[in-house]
Structure formats: C-alpha cells, structure tokens
C-alpha cells in the first residue's frame, strides 16, 4: 500500500472547480444538442470561472498565514489566491470575447473545456511549492494553450502559431527542467523553501551549478512571460492565434509566469539575491528596449500589441528586481489593470476582425472610433492605460513600479522605465490616431458600410475591462491592500 499524503482539498478548490467545469463542457460536446451547445458550454465555463474565483477569494480570506500543503509541494497562501482570482477573471472576460467568434461547431465544447483546463493549470501553477509541481503546472496549462492556438484548423496562420508555440514553448520547458535538475543536483532538494535552507546551510549561494540552474529556471519562466530576449515566439503566435486566445495568453499567461517567477526567486533563492536582482533588472531593460522599439514599426495591431506585451513584461520585471515589499504590491497591482486592458484591447481587435474579415492594421482601423463609439472609447482608454496616462490603472501601476524601484535605490531603472514609456507613447497614440483622426476617405479606403454585428457578450467584456482599468485608478487603495496582504505570504 502506497502512503498518500493528506490533501487540503479546500486549498486546491479553485483548480478543481475549473476542472469540473472543463469536464462538463467536454461531456456537453457529445450530450447537448447542437443548437444549445454554444450557450451551454459558455455558460458552464463561466459558472466554473466564477466559482473558482469565489473559491480563490474564500481561500484568500481564510489563509492569513502561508502554509505548505500536500507533502509540502504546494502552498496555500494569499499570494497564490490573488493570482488565481486574476486568472479566473481573465478567463471570464475571455469567454465574453470568444462567444461570437466564428468557430467550427465540433470545436465549441473542446474550446471551452481547454480554456477552463488552462485556467485550472494556471491556478495550480501559482500554488506550486516545489520544482516538481512547478513543472507540472507549467506543462498543464501550456499544452492547453498549444491546442487553443491551433484550434482554427482551417487557418494556416493558426496552425503555424500553434506549432511555433509548441516548439519554442517546449524548448522553454526543457530549459526550465534542466535548470531544476541542476538546482536539485546542487542542493539535493526540490521544495522551494528546502532549497533556500539547503543553500544557507551548506553555503551554496555562490555554487556555480546552483547559479546556472537558477539562470535556466529564470530563462524558462521568461519564455512563458515573453520577456526579451526569450520572446521570439510572441509576435508570431500572438498574431496567428485566434484573437480571444491571444488576449487570454497576454493576460493570464503573463500573470502566472511573473507571479511564479517572483515566488521562486524570493522563496527558493533568497541567498542569491544579489545575482538575480541584477539579472532581472537587465532582462527588464532588454524587454523594455526591444519591445518598445520593435512596436514602433508595426502596422498590424496584433503584432503591435504583442510587442507592447513584451515591454509590459519589462515594467513588471522592474517591480521584481526592486525586491522589496513595495515591489510585490506593485507587481500584483500592475497585473490587475494590465490583464483587463490586454483582454479588452484584443477584444476590440477581434470585433474589428469579425467586421472586416481580415487582419486588423492601423490603416483599416480608420474611422472605427466614430463608427462604434463604445468600442472606440474603450480602446481609447485601453491605449491610455497601456501608455500609463492618468485616470487609468496603468498609470497607478507604473507609479507603483517606479516607486518600488526608487525605494530600492535603483533610480536609473526608473529613468529607463520613463524613457521606455515615452517611446511607447508613439505607438499607443498611433492606434488612437488611426481610430479617430484619419477618416477613411482621407486614406482612400472604401467605408465599411452596413451595420456591424451586435455582440452583447463582447461588449460586456469590454465594458468590464474598461471599468477595471478606470476603477483601479480611483480605487487603488483597496486593491493595494489586497496586494499587500498577498505579498505578506512571501518571505521578504
């Protein structure tokens, strides 16, 4: 008889609820009549996400003290619970964006099932307490995303995106796994906190094997978070994948990868702090430079947003590099408006795509703002949010990130961030310019004509995202209080 560890089912409930929803979606694909399948699957998936969100919130409320569960391989703390809430909310918004997407009938059930499974995997990943669960969670949601990227099997670009993501993502996972092996070889431990203890006990902080392992783990997670120079898959995959999936990846994948990166770094490698803060700061600078400069020359909006997501990874890495209490708060707060804005912006790209039936470029956005006032105004606030203008949560996020860096004594990093923001203005404002300031007639384009499809679900998702974006500017205090509570779970 194999001894099984006691399992804290309650702490794992967010993952389990999402998994249950995924199972029902999958069953519904064969059991529910065709005409009902789309609303049914979307509804079940939404209920699953709401349920998982609520469970995560309850776990958040009931776990004031961090503890390790399931044979010390997973952690039950507020840090994970808050990230789970962000993931589930992102999933919920993604359902709204996906609802009226053109999709093969036989894929609908699978689509929502994969979405829910991916969220379950992400929820599991942010709880990871050892290198084993880390790798498990990472592969769990990655495999779901590989399929989601390629789900439009009639589109070459979608298949290409899926394949590219699979190959490069696989490489990232391999690097991560190799790094984990090196760390295990050096310390003899897999649990994050045991690694830290072993490092301190055996004075391994300068052990080259440990440091190489650390670097490879960092690189592996950077692949997922699309941090430059590990970002090469990002523009192609973001462009080729179905737009709702892209929005979901930009928001949720980045959230979990960065949150987990932070957890690994501070819990497992506090002894090597001097090394990894510098490394993360350098990665931040590369991401900011590369993402922003490459975005300047993009004409296709999805590619532009892909590079913008790389540069935002850079901003969030600044918060990680600061490595102080303000930094945790900054990271967790930044993720909230950022996730909402990302999904919202891709939702609007999706809406325009469905209207035009072709890829959205800066040129064929012309007049969009006036034709569809609600979506136009929302995109306006999203671009301001990305650019970090006041009256959006994006501004408060940047303010917090820069404050954290300044408090850590890294004023030069603040300057880098500020210059990056300045460069980014050019292309974010270019989107606004395209929507509002260049009438279609001036560009010699035929007006689109006809009445655009009414998409209640997509519009509600966009309005929600806009509410989060603007609301998080005014209600920064309660959100930062959440982030502070969550951050206290980490040893800083």
């Amino acid at each position: 008889m194999i001894e099984t560890p006691s399992v804290d089912w309650f702490a794992l409930s967010p993952s389990l609820v999402a998994l249950a929803a995924a199972a029902i979606c999958l069953l519904s694909a064969v059991l529910v009549p065709r005409w009902l399948l789309r609303p049914f699957a979307a509804f079940i998936c939404a209920v699953g996400f709401i349920g998982a969100f609520v469970m995560a919130a309850i776990v958040f409320g009931k776990s004031p003290d961090a503890q390790l569960i399931v044979a010390e391989t997973a952690s039950r703390d507020r840090f994970a619970a808050l990230a789970q809430m962000i993931v589930m909310a992102s999933g919920l918004l993604t359902i709204g964006v996906s609802y009226s997407a053109r999709m093969r009938q036989e894929h609908i059930g699978e689509y929502y099932a994969l979405l829910a499974t991916a969220c379950a995997g992400m929820a599991f990943l942010v709880q990871a307490g050892s290198l084993m669960t880390l790798f498990l969670g990472l592969e769990w949601f990655s495999v779901c995303l590989y399929i989601l990227c390629a789900i439009e099997i009639d589109l070459e670009s979608s298949l290409e995106a899926g394949l590219k993501y699979l190959i490069i993502g696989g490489m990232g996972s391999a690097v991560l796994l190799f790094g984990s092996a090196l760390v295990y070889g050096s310390t003899g431990e897999l649990g994050f906190s045991q690694i830290a203890e072993a490092t301190a006990a055996n004075d391994l902080a300068d052990d080259p094997i440990l440091l190489v392992g650390l670097a490879m783990i960092l690189a592996g997670l950077s692949f997922k978070a699309s941090v430059a120079p590990f970002h090469m898959w990002t523009p192609d995959v973001y462009e080729g994948a179905p737009t709702p999936v892209t929005g979901f990846m930009a928001a949720a994948t980045k959230t979990v990868a960065l949150v987990l990166m932070y957890r690994v770094l501070v819990v497992a490698f506090p002894e090597s702090e001097d090394v990894w803060t510098i490394a993360v700061a350098v990665l931040a600078c590369i991401s900011l430079a590369w993402g922003n400069i490459a975005a300047l020359v993009q004409r296709r909006v999805k590619r532009l947003l892909a590079y913008s997501s790389i540069s935002h990874a850079g901003f969030m890495l600044i918060a990680i590099a600061a490595d102080n209490e303000l930094g945790v708060r900054a990271l967790l707060f930044y993720l909230i408006p950022y996730s909402a804005i990302s999904i919202g912006a891709f939702a609007i790209v999706a809406a325009r795509e469905r209207e035009l039936g072709e890829n959205v470029t800066l040129d064929n956005l012309a007049g969009f703002g006036w034709e569809r006032p609600l979506l136009g105004a929302a995109m306006f606030t999203f671009m301001l949010g990305f650019a970090g203008f006041p009256l959006t949560g994006g501004f408060m996020g940047k303010f917090l990130v820069f404050s954290a860096a300044s408090e850590a004594g890294w004023n030069w990093l603040v300057i880098v961030g500020v210059v990056a923001t300045l460069v980014s203005l050019y292309y974010y404002l270019a989107v606004i310019r395209a929507m509002y300031m260049r009438p279609a007639a001036e560009l010699g384009l035929a007006p689109v004509g006809g009445s655009p499809p009414r998409e209640i679900m997509l519009s509600s998702a966009v309005v929600l995202a806009m509410a989060v974006n603007i609301g998080s500017f005014f209600a920064i205090q309660p959100l930062v209080d959440l982030a502070r509570n969550a951050g206290e779970a980490l040893p800083l």
């Binding site: 203008f389 006041p390 501004f395 603040v414 300045l422 310019r433 300031m437 205090q477």
Partner: protein, 482 residues
C-alpha cells in the same frame, strides 16, 4: 458648500463631460456645455466673494487620503495666485466653448465633452496641493488636447499632435521620476506637509517639464505647429491657459520646494527666459500670418512672465501673476479674433489680408482695443503687469530689466504690424466686400473678455495686491529680503 468649492470646480465640468458623452443629447451638446461652463464661472465668482486674501493657509482646503502606503492624498485648495489662475481658466474655457458652439463643430458631443474634461483638468492643476494629484491633472490636460487638435485641427494636425505630445511628455515623464523620488524621500506627496529638498536633479526634472509647457526657449519646438494647426478656440486655450500651468508649477513647486537649487539655477532660467523674450518678439515681428504673430508673442510673453518669477521679489512675482492673467485673456481674445477673421477670409496670411476696418467697425474696435492692451500702452492692464515685473527685476539686476524693456518695445512693433496688416492698408485679395462685421454672437463672446481686460486695466491692483505674499514659500522668503 463653499468649503468644497475647489472640489466642485473640478468635478462640475467632469460631470458635464460625462453627461454629454453618456446621454443622447445630440445637437444640444453645445448649449449644455456652455451652461456648464457658465455655471463654473458662477461658482468661481462665488468663491471670489468668499476668498480671504489675507489668509495664510490654502483656502477651500479639502483633503482625503487616496493611497496611504505612499502618502498620496486628494488634497485641493487655493492660494491667492492660483485662485486667479483658476479664474482665468474658467473664463477662457467658457469663451472657447462658446466660440466652438457658435462655429458649430462636428461631432458636438465628443467635442464639447472633451472641452469640459479639459476645463476640469486645468482647474485641477491650479488647485492641487498634492504632488501626485498635480501630476495626474497635468497629464490629464494632454488627453483632450491631443484629440482636440488631432481630430478638429487643420491639415497638418497629425504631425502637430505628435510633436506636441512627444515634447510635453518628454518633459512630464522626467517630472514623474522627480515626483516619485521627491515624494518617497519626503514620505508624503502632500505639498503642504512636505518639506524642501536640495537636490538639483529633482529640481531640474520639474523645471524642465514646466519649461516645455510654458514654453521657454529652447523648448518651444512644438509651439508653432500646435498653435497653427489647432482650431482657434483650442489655440486660445493652449496659449492662454495651458502655458499657465507652468507658472503655477514654477511658483508652487520649484520655488517652494527647492529654494536652494532655485537660487542656483536662477540665472540660467533668467537667461533662457530673456532669450525667449527677444527671440519670440523678433519671430513675431517676422511672422507672415496672424496666428504666427500671436504664437510667437506668447513665447515672448511667457519669457517675460518667467523673468518675473525667477527674479524673485514680491513686485516681480506679483507682476508675473497679473501678467499671466492678462496674457491669458489677451491671447485667447486674439486667437478667437484670428478665428473670426479666418472664417471671413479663409486665410490668416498678411499678404492676402488688409483693409478690414472699412465698414467693419466692431471688428476694428475689438481688435484695436485688444492689440493696444497687448502692446502694453500705459494705463492698460498689460502695462501694469509688465511694469511691475520690470520694477521688480531692477532689484535683481538691471540687465534683465533692460532686456525686458526691449521686449516691450518689440511688442509694440509686432502688435502694430498685426493691426495695420489686418485692418488698414489696401484691402487684400482675400477680403471680399461682403465679408461681414463681427456678428452679435461673436461680440457676445469677445466683449466679456475685453471687458475683463478693461476692468483689469482700471484696477490691476485687484490682482497684483496681496496675490503672492501669503503663498507658500513666500513668507519665509520675505524675512530674507532686505
């Protein structure tokens, strides 16, 4: 109610903007916007009646904690000088909105909503007593301006907006770095509670941002395009109001929080301002069109105002405040007049204008009166302001005063050139006999502005007296002054 006047002044136009954006008011948008703008003036006058000019503290002071982790608060209130700037803001914005209404801009809900949003942001800048709040309003001004120029501007508007945004954001993002470093070092972002700093770098972060906004030479690259490509009422707001955010910043932040660096860098800024004054005046004299003259005269006038601030004595700073209000009213009136002339002739080019005085007495009178005040004829409000500045500057260094006096002479040259090129000489090719005189509605917009100027001419001390003595930093400064 009067206790929350500062908050009302900020949120009333914002409520108006949301009202226009969210409700299907259709073509009534302009009249609603005007109503909100006039109500805003009413509230401001109500505040003026209650304002205690001898008070040592900020008036209508209100403070709520916004974000306690870093000591950020929503803290608004007015000192005498900022209250006058806010008054300038509400008056000029109302005139601009009225002008837009009269001209009938396309997409009125968006347009007037943005104008009201801009009102809110400008008034917010002048009332903020918290550094982050100030930054928020300072940046928020840019959003409506970007759209107002980019959508309703002239043919070259896209280039103008890019230049305008990149210039101002370069300044203000460096300021953000300064805001953060200063706020964290003080432990609070509250301007009333925080102490002073000796850091030159932080000071320069602020000062350069304001120098771009003013603009001071050599940070004025965005100015000609932005003033030329925007619609007249937006140009009026840009030159009349937005530049005054720099005046507020110089006095409230640079002087009050950085007395040491302010003193060290005084001569640099005086030199830049003096260069801008002479350079702007010469360019204004050479400019080929009406807007060019007003645009470069703004550069010159902002130079003079900055000289007044950096000369740093009670007389010169009081004069700078008075002159800020004068210049705001003057350039707004002139830009709106330029707009009315462009509507009649579809050009602002001096070569194609001329002889408009004949048969158009109202236009001639209003333009003449405004021009005469602008060239600072003795007895005018502008004369009072410039005289105070120069009188004060003499105490600092007679050289700066001499340059200022040269600027006054040049002002007479370019203003007279503008007046004669438009009103006198032979009728230009673009001036048709049927071009109308100012319509009653246009007079209804312009005359109140001119009336304000005449009132200030009659009683400039209404502003310049006790405008700065009780403002932050100055009581301490007065003890030092011999």
């Amino acid at each position: 109610m009067s206790g929350s006047l500062a908050t009302i002044l900020i949120f009333l136009p914002l409520a108006g903007a949301l009202f226009l954006w969210l409700l299907p008011v259709g073509r009534l948008a302009g009249s609603f916007a005007l109503l909100f703008a006039l109500a805003e003036i009413g509230f401001w006058i109500n505040g003026l009646v209650e304002f205690d000019f001898d008070g040592q503290e900020a008036q209508f002071d209100q403070s709520w904690t916004w974000f306690s982790d870093l000591g950020v608060s929503y803290h608004v209130g007015y000192f005498a000088f900022s209250f006058w700037l806010a008054g300038l803001a509400v008056v000029v914005m109302a005139a601009a909105i009225a002008y837009g209404f009269w001209v009938g801009r396309e997409r009125p809900r968006a347009y007037f909503g943005l104008m009201l949003f801009l009102t809110s942001a400008v008034v917010g800048v002048f009332s903020s007593q918290d550094l982050l709040l100030f930054y928020v309003f300072f940046e928020a001004m840019l959003i409506p301006l970007y759209v107002l120029i980019g959508v309703w501007g002239g043919a070259g508007r896209l280039g103008a907006t890019v230049k305008f945004v990149i210039y101002t954001m370069a300044g203000s993002l460096l300021m953000l770095a300064s805001v953060i470093v200063f706020g964290l070092s003080q432990g609070t972002f509250d301007l009333v509670e925080s102490g002073t700093s000796d850091s030159t770098w932080i000071f320069l972060g602020f000062a350069v941002a304001f120098a771009v906004k003013a603009p001071l030479f050599p940070f004025h690259g965005w100015l000609p395009d932005a003033y030329r490509e925007s619609s007249p009422e937006v140009a009026a707001v840009l030159s009349g109001l937005i530049s005054k955010a720099a005046v507020f910043g110089f006095i409230r932040i640079c002087f009050d929080k950085f007395p040491g660096p302010f003193d060290d860098w005084r001569n640099v800024f005086l030199a830049l301002a003096a260069t801008g004054l002479v350079y702007g005046s010469l360019l204004a004299f050479r400019a080929p069109d009406i807007r060019g003259v007003i645009a470069y005269s703004s550069l010159a006038q902002m130079g003079l105002i900055t000289i007044g601030i950096f000369a740093l004595n009670i007389a010169s700073v009081s004069g700078a405040i008075l002159q800020s209000v004068n210049h705001g009213l003057l350039s707004a009136t002139l830009f709106l007049l330029a707009g009315t002339i462009e509507r009649r002739t579809s050009t602002g080019d001096f070569n194609r204008l001329g002889g408009m005085a004949r048969g158009r007495p109202a236009l001639a009178t209003v333009l003449m009166a405004t021009g005469i005040i602008a060239l600072a004829v003795p007895g005018s409000a502008a004369f009072a302001g410039e005289f105070l500045i120069l009188a004060g500057v003499f105490g600092t260094g007679w050289g700066w005063a001499a340059i200022g006096a040269v600027g006054m002479v040049l002002a007479a040259m370019y203003m007279l050139r503008l007046i004669s090129a438009v009103l006198h000489t032979e009728p230009g090719p673009a001036v048709s006999k049927t071009a109308l005189d100012l319509r009653p509605a246009e007079l209804g917009i312009l005359l109140p502005l001119v009336a304000c100027l005449l009132a200030l001419s009659a009683w400039p001390a209404g502003i310049s007296d006790r405008v700065i003595e009780n403002s932050p930093g100055f009581p301490a400064f007065r003890e030092l002054e011999p």
